[in-house]
């Protein structure tokens, strides 16, 4: 007999799958909105009718949209992303290395942002109302309410233009040695860290403050526990669930940030590939990148929700 918790988790996974299906439908549907015929756009105005017909057949454009959607989805599930329109290469080859670059960027950012955000979130909650707390909160509101490219712009202005510590551009294929690696990653990582820590600090702070309002924390205070001990031993263990949820959720903000950051710093990742594909209107490539992004995003959100379910002690049997 499965417990209530197992059922909830399974239900959540089901919702994710359904969502992914709807998302794929929307992403595929975008192709159908394209005004004019893809083939005619590809071949240009000088195309002969025979060439158009030939390419249509080669691209399976004659079958109905639903059939093509099915084939596309099936292919993607097997790792076959199709061919790029713009340079006639298998998309899987184009994406491979780029995806690794983006994941590397995301991993380095998370490794810095998560501990930093946890520290700031817990300490601001401990000293809430103090000038330190107000300063951090004001900084968070400013970071949350400006676009990512603005943070990147100011980071370049401060670190590359005024302080001259770092180069403004990053090219990951010229990395030799640890020092250079540091320089290449620095600007994108600084920008992304700002973007995702702001949300994380805010949510962590709220979670710890909620826990600190509980009667058992008051009890700990009354029995004479120090403020540090009160937070670390009594409040924090009960805030772990919401905090883990906050982390997973904030990491999903990496996505919006990465699109801007890779463009502005010329970082050869998958988001840059996608933005370039938009300017050449290379739809199969855009679709594949979009599906990879949506998959990553849904994965993080699902993890956040599942952590929230698992961390609720009332559901434990």
């Amino acid at each position: 007999m499965p417990g209530q918790m197992t059922l909830l988790v399974l239900g959540r996974l089901g919702v994710t799958l359904l969502t992914l299906l709807i998302v794929s439908f929307v992403v595929f549907g975008a192709t159908l909105l394209l005004p004019g015929d893809v083939v005619e756009i590809l071949l240009g105005q000088a195309a002969t009718p025979e060439a158009v017909a030939g390419l249509r057949e080669a691209m399976h454009l004659d079958s109905p949209a639903l059939v093509r959607y099915g084939q596309w989805l099936l292919g993607m599930a097997q790792g076959d992303f199709g061919m790029s329109y713009a340079n006639n290469m298998p998309i899987a080859d184009m994406i491979g290395g780029r995806l690794a670059n983006t994941l590397r960027l995301a991993a380095v950012t998370s490794a810095i942002a998560v501990p930093l955000a946890l520290f700031l979130g817990v300490t601001t909650a401990m000293y809430r109302g103090s000038s330190y707390d107000r300063m951090v909160t004001a900084a968070i509101v400013s970071v949350i309410s400006v676009p990512e490219f603005l943070i990147a712009t100011f980071a370049v202005l401060v670190f590359a233009v005024w302080l001259k510590w770092l180069p403004a551009l990053s090219l990951a294929n010229e990395v030799q040695g640890f020092g250079q690696l540091l320089k290449v990653f620095a600007m994108p990582v600084i920008t992304l860290t700002f973007v995702i820590s702001a949300q994380m600090i805010r949510m962590t702070r709220a979670a710890v403050i909620d826990a600190l309002k509980m009667p058992y924390v008051e009890m700990a205070l009354l029995k004479g526990a120090s403020p540090t001990r009160m937070v670390l031993r009594h409040a924090l263990p009960n805030a772990i669930g919401p905090i883990a949820n906050a982390i997973a959720l904030s990491l999903s903000y990496l996505l919006g940030g990465v699109i801007i950051v890779e463009t502005i710093f010329n970082y050869p990742g998958i988001a840059k590939l996608m933005v370039d594909a938009v300017s050449t209107r290379d739809l199969p490539l855009i679709q594949s990148c979009a599906m990879i992004f949506c998959f990553g995003f849904l994965l993080l959100i699902t993890i956040a929700d599942i952590i929230a379910i698992l961390s609720n002690p009332r559901l434990r049997k």
Binding site: V26, V156, M274, L283
Partner: protein, 279 residues
């Protein structure tokens, strides 16, 4: 949320200084969006400086851009695009989201379930990605941008309004109205809407910020407002080359965006609790 207890009897009676200042900044940008371009010292498209990325001077208050055009005039005109497109989009998004949300809450049943599931799925597509895919498919023009931004932010507004309306729906006065035999349309606009107006307006403000951010982001990627027109995001993109010399041409539009979005956020955070209350 801050813990200052504000028990104002009427709207706006007790607002703190931060709220008032941010309100004034927003008002200022709104006025500029409407009448600003008529006061522009130079035509936005004219090349008035032989130098590019010129510094601030008496003639060119905020310097010149990468072609030698007056940045001050271009920002005045850009306000109209940024504020206008975002405001249009947020009105459409909130109107459709709130009406659908209230209808779903009042009707319930399959309509509610299916609509909620589909809109939640749309909501789980990251907004910037949605924008990229759609712009790739249908190209970018101002009407397209307004509709696109509205579509992207309707699900969030729907979810918010539905949650509020579901609470409202359990109230006795709604049950009474239903027992009287009132139609859905009456229930929505006469019973539910007046009771959720405050939070819905606060949500509209927040969503406006999101839309400004997304629009600027798209323009920054070169996918939003197209040249020769330029909103604030496009102005930053056009002049990003001046970043290396800290040209006012790139810093000024950045400050414009930041002042607007931070002000809206601060205004909403400092609204009297009665209006802002989202529980």
């Amino acid at each position: 949320m801050s813990q200052t207890p504000v028990s104002s009897p009427r709207f706006g009676m007790r607002m703190n200084a931060t709220g008032i200042i941010s309100g004034l900044i927003i008002l200022c940008w709104a006025v500029i969006a409407v009448i600003g371009p008529t006061f522009a010292p130079h035509a936005p498209g004219d090349i008035v400086d032989f130098d590019f990325f010129g510094p601030m001077s008496e003639q060119l208050w905020l310097g010149s851009d990468y072609l030698g055009r007056d940045i001050f005039s271009r920002i005045l005109l850009g306000t109209r695009y940024t504020v206008g497109i975002s405001f249009g989009a947020v009105c459409i998004a909130c109107f459709s989201g709130v009406v659908l949300g209230m209808t779903a809450a009042v009707t319930g049943g399959y309509f509610d379930t299916i609509l909620s599931r589909v809109l939640d799925a749309l909501n789980s597509i990251p907004s910037k990605l949605f924008g990229l895919v759609m712009v790739a498919a249908i190209g970018s023009s101002i009407p397209v941008l307004v509709i696109l931004l509205a579509v992207i932010y309707t699900p969030g507004s729907y979810r918010f309004a539905r949650a509020l309306a579901v609470n409202c729906n359990t109230m006795d006065y709604v049950a009474v109205a239903r027992a009287r035999g009132e139609k859905t349309l009456y229930l929505i606009f006469q019973e539910i809407l007046p009771n959720i107006t405050g939070p819905v307006l606060a949500d509209l403000g927040l969503r406006f910020v999101f839309i400004v951010l997304l629009l600027s982001g798209l323009s920054f990627l070169g996918l939003g407002v197209q040249p020769p027109n330029a909103d604030w995001g496009s102005l930053v993109k056009e002049n990003i080359g001046g970043l290396a010399f800290a040209a006012p041409a790139v810093i000024a539009p950045c400050l414009a965006i930041a002042s607007l979005t931070i002000s809206v956020n601060l205004l909403i955070d400092n609204l009297p609790v009665k209006i802002r209350d989202r529980s």
